[in-house]
Symmetry: C2
Subunit: 132 residues, 2 copies
DNA sequence: TAACAAACGTTATATTATAACACTATGATA
DNA sequence: TATCATAGTGTTATAATATAACGTTTGTTA
């Protein structure tokens, strides 16, 4: 909550749009949507996105180059993201599964590498598309 | 093996370069590397990449827009990819961990969605960069 | 209020990826 | 062997995604 206050004008505008969207938004579609509010250049959007990602407010769906609001009340979960993506309708849902995140947070490979973050994307058919 | 035979000329050239590379290659760096072999346009590269991905010969590292040869003797593992990525030196390694892949293949969310594929990317510090 | 960090605005440009169209090879199969 | 489908090719143009570089403004804090 306190963190919300520290958002800048552009960051607020852009977070707002992403939170209200029902699907992941692309950077240039965000740009188009905020032009009436005075944000004119891609860089203004990308800068806000970068900050919001850092804060855990939003995530990037890497395979789609799109951005979604965090559904898990941000914080450290921003370093541990998992999505399910329907390849038919492109619906994207953030997975919030304690067991899964615990499993992945504790995962270590054989080399001894230190993992600070992960991003997992599942692709498949959502229940709606499965039926049709 | 039999599958290797079915690769087209361009597909072979591009697979060859990716297999010989020690790191993930970007599409346009591949393009640059194959221009002497007569491949002149981005689309020729992207088409070969798409086919090679379909065959499981290579994978795309989504967060880096880069392509690596599959280390797990391709096949169905192409639908189940996991990478470790060093955020300092950008070294990328394909993770081959039976337990992990079994766990993820069996993962089901609450909605009943069918997962056909997944891609997991861990980010952190490799053992070399950890020391310095 | 000086000094610094973070955010801003702007122009230009780099990077990644696909559309559209015409042509060519390959290998069934009738 | 004609012909049909499928996959691949080559090319031009363009779309979509993202960052560099510069100078200015704002907000915090010593």
């Amino acid at each position: 909550m306190a963190q919300t206050q520290t958002l800048s004008k552009n960051q607020k505008i852009i977070l707002d749009i992403i939170e209200k969207a029902k699907e992941p938004l692309k950077a240039y579609s965000i740009l188009f949507n905020v032009q009436k509010k005075g944000i004119k250049a891609p860089l203004q959007v990308y800068r806000a996105l970068a900050k919001l990602i850092k804060l855990g407010k939003i995530h990037k769906v890497e395979s789609r180059n799109a951005f979604v609001a965090c559904q898990n009340s941000n914080c450290e979960i921003s370093k541990a993201t998992a999505f399910s993506i329907c390849e038919t309708c492109e619906k994207v849902t953030e997975i919030s599964d304690q067991k899964l995140s615990k499993y992945l947070k504790n995962f270590h490979d054989k080399t001894g590498m230190i993992y600070k973050k992960y991003n997992l994307e599942f692709y498949g058919l959502c229940t709606t598309c499965k039926r049709s």
